[in-house]
Amino acid sequence: MPTASDIASEAALAFRARIEHLSGQTVSSCYQCGKCTAGCPVASEMDTDPARVMRLVQLGARERVLRDEAIWLCASCETCVSRCPQACRLPRVMDALRAVAEQDGYARDNRGAALLNRLFLAQIRAFGRVHEMSLVAGFNLASRRPLRDVTKGPSMMRKGKLHLLPQRSANLPAVRRIFERVQELEGSET
């Protein structure tokens, strides 16, 4: 739990400012009406509901929010955005939290969405496109649940929905260059 000094500190305010900058959202305009939580399809699965994630960001409770599973459960369905009375794009805030969690090493042990994100982007980097079969297999292995959905693969294969070999985009070099230049630009800014 954050202490009073955690949430009043300069570091706390700096964290809030960082999230506001990355997300482009004025987090402090949230007045905690809870409409995001009310409509969120996964709120009931979160220990910390979306409105409270916003509150923690307002308070700059960095450790608590970056370690919270909730930020990896947000499905980016945007239901909250279309109904928010303050027109806050909460998924952007979630994106910023996920990005910071990833950058600052909080997602290292995450075997859920963070892991999937890393594997997914690695595929884009490798092929320019995503190869579903190796993505799923890789994810199941890395998350140490190799038998997850094991019965579905063969039947998909039979139906011609899975391909053994990945497709490679002709523009793979351009995609790799995008990754490099984004990394370069963002690296120079932090």
Binding site: P41, V81, D95, G112, V130, F139, M156, L162, I178, R181
Partner: protein
């Protein structure tokens, strides 16, 4: 107007029945659906989870390709790709700082000359409902369809500007033009759990359970979708729903293009009706010749 089709990764894989049926429909309607040459992944959710810049740049890359290939519009079938591509265009148009950063990354001007359209918009706006109805060979009379739009077609409304965000009707109108009866149901734009399907399939199962329950109680014979991820969740996860909750629905989740194709006279194989887990062919038998 010159268009290019952006299939996205899923339509070359688990969603290839969507691609197949989209091509079948467009071929019958005389709509050009030539694939964008050298397309690359839009970045999807993992990209915007990681970096806003990366996300927009990966999508913008495809807009740039379309621009280089002298296309006016990029037509997209996958709701997730559609969302990313249209968002990228919107954000580059409305955020000068971001646009500058994207141009730096792409080493090219932001390709704002290319529009992003969904296949439904192509049918509704470019082709027209009257023209579509005139091409119907086997009206889907008596078929009750629950149109499922999910999240990414319609939200956020300020960005997507697609239909009504809470009560969309575009798919309903397309299928009604094909003779089907679309049902009013509360799940139209509720989330199916999207890519939590891999990391937290338990969540997806409970969301899909509720959607199928609502569709079934609204009297639907099939659920029509416009997104390969929605289709996979609603279709492939039905066995898991039964295992986790005991509820059994046997409610086929088909692509709206498969139903349109059916009405236009295409066959089951041509439309990829054999590819889903919950077989729709028994339900659709009356319209299959």
């Amino acid at each position: 107007m010159s268009v290019a089709f952006y299939p996205g990764c899923s339509l070359h894989g688990t969603g290839n029945d969507y691609a197949q049926s989209a091509h079948a429909v467009c071929q019958r309607l005389g709509l050009d659906l030539t694939e964008l040459e050298g397309w690359t992944c839009c970045g999807s959710t993992p990209a915007h989870n990681t970096s806003a810049l990366l996300s927009v740049a990966l999508s913008a890359q495809n807009l740039r390709l379309a621009s280089d290939q002298q296309r006016d519009s990029l037509v997209v079938a996958c709701a997730a790709c559609f969302n990313r591509l249209r968002s990228a265009r919107h954000e580059m148009a409305h955020d000068e700082v971001l646009r500058g950063r994207v141009e730096h990354v792409l080493e090219a001007p932001a390709p704002l000359d290319v529009r992003v359209d969904h296949l439904l918009e192509l049918l509704l706006d470019t082709y027209g409902l009257d023209a579509l109805a005139a091409r119907v060979r086997r009206p889907l009379t008596g078929l009750k369809v629950a149109c499922y739009y999910g999240c990414l077609l319609v939200r956020p409304p300020e960005v997507m500007a697609f239909d009504d965000a809470e009560h969309p009707t575009s798919m309903d109108r397309v299928l009604a033009a094909c003779g089907a009866e679309t049902v009013d149901w509360p799940g139209k734009t509720e989330c199916c759990g999207a890519n939590l399907s891999l990391s937290r399939s338990d969540i997806v199962v409970s969301l899909v359970d509720r959607l199928l329950d609502q569709a079934k109680r609204a009297g639907a014979d099939v659920v029509a979708v416009a997104c390969p991820l929605c289709q996979a969740n609603l279709d492939v996860r039905q066995t898991d729903v039964t295992a986790q909750t005991g509820h059994r629905y046997d409610l086929p989740a088909v692509y709206f293009t498969q139903l349109v194709g059916l009405a236009l006279g295409a066959g089951a194989d041509e439309l990829g009706l054999d590819k889903s887990f919950v077989d729709s062919r028994p339900t659709l038998a009356g319209w299959l010749s």
